[in-house]
């Protein structure tokens, strides 16, 4: 059991996301994260899906995804050399004073940006691989995380594929 990262190229049509996510829940596959947006091909979207499972199970996930008519291509990029990023926004309890200073220090170590400040809290923005965001979350928990959202992982293979 380990996380696999899949790239799923789909038709940019209504209902595609629910077809894909429905397939996962119906067949008992666990989605760790799913990020979707338009991509370089007009009329298509690319999903980056992180799914946990052994090789046989992942093979089945890929085959079932491929059966969907709106799915154009499924690639497992787990073994590829990739760059992967996730974006998170974290609202941390931080009253002016020592606490806030500490939070800001932690933020700067993680290269997180402060994008909003209010009397009782600040909002940090951080991008990076998922482990980095996990680590930051763990550290900030002691100050009190009020709200936390992350986009889910997106990834691209390094280098030029097919000469493009």
């Amino acid at each position: 059991m380990r996380p696999h990262t899949l790239h799923v190229l789909v038709e940019n049509r209504a209902g595609v996301l629910s077809r894909v996510s429905g397939l996962f829940s119906r067949r008992g596959f666990n989605i760790e994260s799913l990020a979707v947006g338009t991509c370089e091909e007009p009329g298509m979207s690319r999903m980056t899906i992180v799914v946990l499972g052994d090789d046989a199970r992942i093979e089945q996930v890929k085959k079932q995804l491929n059966k969907l008519i709106d799915v154009i291509k499924v690639s497992d990029i787990t073994e590829q050399s990739t760059v992967a990023r996730e974006l998170a926004l974290i609202k941390v309890a931080a009253e002016p004073g020592e606490g806030r200073a500490e939070v800001m220090q932690v933020a700067s170590i993680f290269r997180a940006q402060i994008i909003d400040v209010s009397p009782k809290s600040i909002i940090l923005q951080v991008a990076g691989d998922s482990e980095k965001i996990d680590a930051l979350e763990r550290l900030l928990r002691q100050y009190g995380i009020k709200e936390f959202v992350r986009t889910g992982k997106i990834a691209l293979m390094r280098g030029m594929k097919g000469g493009r």
Binding site: A14, G22, A56, Q60, N66, K67, L68, I69, I72
Partner: protein, 554 residues
């Protein structure tokens, strides 16, 4: 200039559709108005579930794509069991539903249901059409998807305003070209080579064939391979008829209620050539004990089936007919001198289960078999009746056996037999039913009468939900919890609708009863009161190994 409804009807005609099964309602009135004088036959069933099953029976009997039509909301929802049944058995079906106008979509309008959402998991694909100009192409694509690759149901949901919208100019319909859908038909040459090598080396090979063989029209190719290389053939419930039951290499049905020969052979084989099957748990029993000594070649048009339930040594994605032909072309005639066939033959001869005392259901099926020709189409309901028909009727041709295998849908058989009779008006269509299942769509007697459909219904009536009672007897200490059914005057009900009938309670009456049933010109309901607690044997208990059969005589 044409309306959306007209474009739908044009599209159906362009696809060669002659008969559709449906039930009207407010949200499909524009289509019904077009059907009023369209050169298409619409069959009015008595319940939408029956429309889906009838279209399914039509498709299974004919090999063409079946079509059903229903209104929005309750009508569409009533199709669901029929669509799921077709999905599980890979039957090509196009279901068209009416929908509330696009302006009301999502508002919980009167008779709205999100039928595309509901049917995501039970269709190969589905469409909610929001622009009437797309209807022609959607119909083309839907039939293409339903009828190619691994076949299956496709649903088209049409909001009422889309049906009435005027389209001008009418766009031309292109060949279906879907970038996300390109089925593979030819087997990979290297895998074909590997299969050939395994067949040449095997000492105890076995062919394990299923519904995919019927769907791809590969019956002749299976037989050619089996005969050339002397390989015995075991068939799933869905594959029955692909190889004649009385062919010396035929071992009959494999699985929970399979034959000793098939179940022992799979346990001992050293090469399993699985064709158009999906290693269903009703076939494999405990999957680790299924073909434990065998190298496995799996031929299937759906890559997702290969390796899903059982690890495979040689995966071949492709159409069964083409792949088998490619394999056979590379093989020379082979004899098997190692005693495998004689061993198999001994299993075939031994261990027939004892007949039931009293009115034996197996005997009824055997007598039916003796009366009917090879062309007759036998449809079943679900339960013991289904298994007795599968075990004791001798199927000799593909598409002469229609049954709900994957979903096991009670109520499937009667409407499916109506659909089959529409597809094959000149052939005998006989339904083997249980008293429970028949009551699930008994209202279709009305359809039978209205359209003079001459289906023959043989009820193996045990006044029980027999198969469930059998499980209660064997595994729940005979505690018959809610499985006893009160007696019903089926002959009286049939007559009330205008169908002839007869009740048989005596073993000696079975022959004359069947003769009257099949000798009468129109439809007929034969209510046969069988031995109440007759069981289906042999049986592999759920979760046991395939060769751990109970209910064997010796």
């Amino acid at each position: 200039m044409k309306t959306g409804a007209r474009l739908l009807v044009d599209g159906l005609q362009r696809e060669g559709v002659e008969t559709i099964f449906g039930y009207p309602g407010g949200a499909v009135l524009p289509v019904y108005d077009e059907l009023y004088d369209a050169p298409l036959r619409h069959v009015l069933v008595r319940h939408e579930q029956a429309a889906a099953h009838a279209a399914d029976g039509y498709a299974r009997a004919s090999g063409k794509t079946g079509v059903c039509l229903a209104t929005s909301g309750p009508g569409a929802c009533n199709l669901v069991t029929g669509i799921a049944t077709a999905y599980m058995d890979s039957v090509p079906l196009v279901a068209v539903t009416g929908q509330v106008p696009t302006t009301m979509l999502g508002n919980d309008a009167f008779q709205e249901s999100d039928i595309t959402g509901i049917t995501f998991p039970i269709t190969k694909h589905n469409y909610l059409v929001k622009d009437a100009a797309e209807i022609g192409q959607v119909v083309r694509d839907a039939f293409y998807i339903a009828g190619t690759g691994r076949q299956g149901p496709v649903l088209i949901d049409l909001p009422k305003d889309v049906m009435t919208a005027q389209v001008d100019p009418v766009p031309e319909v292109q060949e279906a070209r879907l970038r996300g859908y390109q089925p593979t038909y030819e087997g990979h040459p290297r895998q074909v080579e590997r299969a050939v090598a395994l067949i040449q080396e095997a000492e105890r090979p076995l062919l394990y064939i299923g519904g995919g063989v019927v769907a791809s029209g590969a019956a002749a190719e299976v037989l050619a391979l089996a005969e050339l290389t002397a390989i015995p053939v075991a068939s799933t419930l869905m594959g029955l008829g692909a190889v004649p039951c009385d062919h010396p290499l035929s071992l009959g049905m494999i699985g929970m209620h399979g034959t000793e020969a098939a179940n022992f052979a799979v346990t001992e084989c050293d090469l399993l050539i699985a064709v158009g099957v999906r290693f269903d748990d009703r076939v494999t029993g405990r999957v680790e004990a299924f073909a434990p000594q065998a190298a496995v070649v799996h031929i299937d048009i759906d890559p997702a089936e290969i390796g899903k339930n059982k690890p495979v040594d040689v995966p071949i994605v492709g159409d069964a007919r083409l792949v088998l032909a490619a394999i056979t072309a590379k093989l020379a005639r082979q004899e098997r001198g190692n005693g495998w066939l004689s061993r198999v033959r001994r299993w075939q001869e031994e261990n027939a289960p004892a007949p039931a005392a009293g009115l034996d259901p197996a005997g009824v099926i055997r007598q039916m078999n003796a009366l009917l020709d090879d062309e007759a189409i036998i449809v079943s309901e679900v339960g013991q009746n289904q298994m007795w028909a599968a075990q004791h009727y001798c199927f000799r041709r593909p598409r002469t056996w229609l049954t709900s295998g994957g979903l096991g849908t009670m109520g499937y058989g009667f409407p499916a037999s109506i659909g089959a009779q529409f597809a094959c008006p000149d052939r005998t269509v006989a339904l083997v039913a249980g008293d429970g299942s028949f009551q699930m769509n008994i209202q279709e007697l009305g359809t039978v009468v209205e359209y003079k459909v001459p289906v023959k219904v043989v009820i193996l009536n045990n006044l029980y939900l027999g198969m469930v009672r059998q499980w209660q007897e064997l595994f729940y200490d005979r505690r018959y919890s809610y499985t006893e059914l009160s007696p019903v005057d089926f002959v009286g009900i049939a007559r009330a609708y205008g169908v002839e009938g007869r009740r048989v309670e005596d073993p000696d009456e079975v022959g004359p009863g069947l003769e009257e049933c099949f000798g009468t010109e129109g439809a007929f309901v034969l209510d046969v009161r069988i031995e109440r607690e007759a069981n289906v044997f042999p049986m592999v208990p759920a979760g046991a190994a395939i060769n751990e059969m109970i209910g064997r005589r010796g």
